[in-house]
Symmetry: C2
Subunit: 157 residues, 2 copies
């Protein structure tokens, strides 16, 4: 019964896990970038519920932002990813070229892309994304009832 909370993740929790501000999460939801797939907001007072997969999407976006990519650009590309995210994600690299995206598994394939190289390639290893999200979820688990000694650091951000 302790785990009832883990039928998905609240907005605040999701934001904390992927390392974004609530404002961003909210903005992205309203502007249709990433909506909580378990439960969308229906007016003031309601609560969003994010699935694990949602977290992955959010984290990918966060990673792209950290790399200095414009949100607008992320938007253009992201419909593709939403379709293809989820399978063997941990072995693939997301490669963005202009306003297109591809999942690349083979390293040589990547080199080919670079060689033909018009413009810039943005490469993101999805394995890292999954790892980070998983680690963060564990890290933020409410203190285990058995011990409950760990003083949570002031997670001030």
């Amino acid at each position: 019964m302790v785990d009832r909370t883990s039928e998905g993740f609240s907005g605040a929790k999701a934001a904390e896990i992927v390392g974004i501000t609530y404002r961003q999460l909210d903005y992205w939801a309203r502007t249709d970038l990433v909506r909580p797939s378990l439960e969308d907001a229906k007016g003031s007072g309601s609560r969003r519920r994010y699935s694990y997969r949602d977290l992955l999407e959010l984290k990918v976006i966060k990673s792209l932002l950290d790399a200095g990519i414009k949100l607008e650009s992320v938007r253009e590309v992201f419909s593709y990813l939403q379709e293809n995210l989820g399978e063997d994600v941990t072995t693939a690299n997301l490669v963005i070229q202009g306003n297109q995206a591809v999942l690349v598994r083979d390293g040589g394939e990547l080199i080919d892309l670079v060689r033909q190289g018009q413009g810039v390639l943005n490469v993101l290893a999805l394995a890292g994304v999954v790892e980070d999200v998983d680690a963060r979820i564990v890290e933020l688990r409410p203190a285990a009832p058995e011990v409950a000694t760990v003083t949570p650091l002031a997670s001030g951000h």
Copy 2:
């Protein structure tokens, strides 16, 4: 003597060659992103003079912008590039990771980077940049002055 104009490139010309607006060129110069190395502006009425290398820098930035990278992010990284641009540029790839940049020549090296893969890699083949700039310069050569019949098109872009 015909070629006196080619002691560098005027602001307008530079912008046209690399495919940016004059406004952008101007803004970048004022905010210290890329200054014309031959002749900087000294007040109203003066004229900026860009070197060929300046054009390459401008074009790299343009490429990064086209890839959806924030100008702010370009700024953080660009000091590095300004030091290392110019040598064997045509064979190298510019790789940006976070706020660091590296020149990568070997493909395998690139794959290693991807594998260790924290965050996003932005990869830009510099050969393409050089090609584009060169081609564009030729393309925009003013009609031979001996004739001077060519009505300059309203170069409206």
